[in-house]
């Protein structure tokens, strides 16, 4: 009976914690569905009288939010494609090929992993300004196209493919690039998907760098748009629209995560948490 009681208490505590984690999501969603008067009601209403789904349309049109979504999609797509290619090529070279300076170059990759992005933005900002690339897609995309951590993660995966397979393929006359395409890519696909997903989440949620290099509304991304829109000229915040926009920004990633969560968790397990 003791074990059963403990189990019940465990589930109860987990449910309690789950409710606490969900409260912000609930408050965001319920506010997004309120009318302006309901959002500004004291004491606050837990649920709207009738759900105002038109808030989502309004949020998309009050600020050029469709534009922000479009920009974010363009930047994420470019970053994911480019960084995946860069990562696969480099990881493969480190995992399978022999060349002079391998140890030194790999050390550069490892060292890059610990440099905070926050330090790099100063010089990268100066570089972009000097190139005249402020307010351009290049400025938003290029610095994200290389990710030392992803190179490291994928190298670990490729190294787990038996070396004999490589030797056999080379003896059969398969070039190293064809081996990469025909053998490594299919086997390493789950990890590649993990790195692509991590890049995507990172880009979608990034704020500081895009905010620094874009001042033009036409080039803003969702995080920046979200931060700056929905405050009227008198300083009043249109909470229901702000929360509707926040919902629209949050939902796509949550859906993506729930569908593909096994790849994200697998990537974290592989990242070398040698408990």
């Amino acid at each position: 009976m003791n074990a059963k009681l403990v189990k019940t208490i465990n589930y109860f505590l987990l449910a309690l914690l789950a409710v606490v984690v969900l409260i912000p999501f609930f408050w965001m969603l319920t506010t997004a569905l309120k009318s302006e008067n309901e959002a500004l009601h004291t004491p606050p209403l837990i649920l709207p009288g009738t759900p105002h789904f038109e808030n989502f349309i309004k949020a998309l049109t009050v600020a050029p939010f469709l534009k922000y979504f479009f920009n974010t999609l363009v930047v994420s797509a470019c970053v994911v494609v480019a960084s995946t290619i860069v990562t696969v090529l480099a990881a493969y070279a480190f995992a399978r090929l022999e060349f002079r300076g391998k140890t030194a170059l790999f050390f550069v990759v490892l060292a890059s992993m610990m440099i905070p992005q926050e330090m790099l933005i100063i010089t990268n900002f100066m570089t972009m300004a000097k190139l005249g690339w402020l307010n351009s897609y290049q400025a938003l995309i290029l610095p994200y196209c290389v990710n030392a951590f992803n190179i490291f993660l994928l190298r670990q995966t490729i190294m787990q493919i038996p070396e004999d397979l490589y030797t056999a393929a080379r003896i059969d006359g398969l070039g190293s690039f064809r081996y990469l395409r025909k053998v490594v890519l299919p086997i390493a696909r789950p990890t590649i998907l993990t790195t692509a997903l991590l890049s995507l989440i990172w880009i979608w949620n990034t704020y500081a760098w895009p905010n620094l290099v874009t001042t033009n509304d036409d080039l803003r991304m969702v995080s920046n748009g979200l931060k700056n829109a929905f405050t009227t000229s008198t300083g009043n915040i249109q909470y229901e629209l702000q929360m509707a926009a926040a919902t629209l920004v949050t939902i796509p990633l949550i859906i993506l995560f729930v569908c593909l969560r096994k790849y994200i968790f697998a990537g974290m397990a592989k990242a070398g948490i040698k408990g």
């Binding site: 100063i122 570089t127 190293s176 040698k274």
Partner: protein, 323 residues
């Protein structure tokens, strides 16, 4: 299989020079956007009154480091960042460890709860920060509504009324903002830590538990004598990576408290962080010396993070024998 080492083919190692082609894109990008910036930031931090447009500077000097360390705003940034790193992180670890222990003790719904606890990690930081600011809204927020059920009068959580004139009011406003920041960081920090702790718990050999149960060891003693020591490498890893993350805090603070890092009426950038200090200085890049100041602050941040990383590498070597 892994133990069998293939005998090397006689003769010298065969080098494959096409390897450099594979590495070219990555290293061009790393050189331009990582290696050069590190070097350049260190150099720029030592240029006195560096002007961005002309590239002129007075001379090389460590003056800007002295300026920063004497700057009240930078010290405030350090205090706030330290609050996140050394108060919020341990608290968040405690909650995450409890959550992971609970998850590890149940079978049904474990995947469901794990997924749910991970949601804050994939939520846009700006969106989440704005939601928290609204949760703590004086008139329309959920927090005051719940407090109202217990007869508590609405609290003006993010309010700068009177703080310019009265130190006591300033400190009260500051304490309220720190509380909000703490609640936010507990919520957002839960995700990764729970997953990491759960992974660590699942790596512990179940035979220890079976043996302890046969001996009739109490739950608390099992935790104290088996789980906690065997989990210590994970705990250390979680602690140091979380502290490093805390030192990079910025977006959340902006989302919670706005671009002036504080309630309306606050001129002191009450809730600024080290990264916020860097970005503010950088935003002022046309005035002489601003970029040097940003760079000097960034170098200080880099040194802190390097020290923490070195500590982590050292400890992970020391504790590896637990496995």
């Amino acid at each position: 299989m892994a133990g069998l080492k293939k005998p090397r083919v006689r003769g010298e190692k065969k080098y494959d020079s096409t390897a450099y082609l594979y590495l070219l894109p990555a290293f061009v990008l790393l050189a331009v956007f990582t290696v050069y910036p590190v070097v350049n930031t260190v150099v720029t931090s030592l240029k006195l009154d560096y002007r961005f447009l002309t590239g002129d500077f007075v001379r090389f000097s460590a003056q800007h480091y002295a300026d920063i360390l004497n700057d009240a705003t930078f010290r405030r940034a350090c205090v706030n960042t330290a609050f996140l790193a050394f108060i919020c992180v341990p608290l968040s670890m405690l909650i995450s460890l409890i959550a992971a222990l609970l998850l590890n003790s149940v079978k049904k719904l474990r995947g469901f709860f794990t997924t749910l606890f991970y949601l804050p990690q994939v939520t846009n930081v700006i969106a989440a920060g704005m939601v928290f600011a609204f949760l703590f809204n004086t008139n329309f927020g959920l927090v005051n509504m719940v407090l109202g059920w217990f007869g508590v009068d609405p609290v003006a959580w993010i309010s700068g009324v009177g703080i310019a004139k009265s130190a006591a009011l300033y400190n009260q406003a500051y304490a309220r903002c720190l509380f909000i920041l703490m609640v936010y960081s507990l919520w957002s920090g839960l995700s990764l830590k729970v997953i990491l702790f759960l992974g660590g718990l699942q790596n512990i050999n179940p035979q220890y538990y079976q043996a302890a149960r046969l001996d009739g060891t109490s739950r608390w003693n099992i935790f104290r004598k088996i789980t906690f020591p065997l989990l210590s490498p994970t705990t250390m890893y979680v602690f140091i990576t979380s502290v490093i993350t805390a030192f990079k805090a910025y977006s959340a603070v902006v989302a919670l408290f706005g671009n002036s890092y504080g309630p309306i009426g606050d001129q002191s950038k009450m809730m600024i962080t080290i990264v916020g200090y860097i970005i503010d200085a950088l935003g002022d890049y046309l005035s002489p010396g601003a970029i040097s100041i940003a760079s000097a602050a960034a170098v200080i941040l880099l040194l802190i993070i390097m020290a923490l990383t070195a500590l982590q590498l050292k400890l992970s070597k020391k504790w590896v024998h637990y496995k």
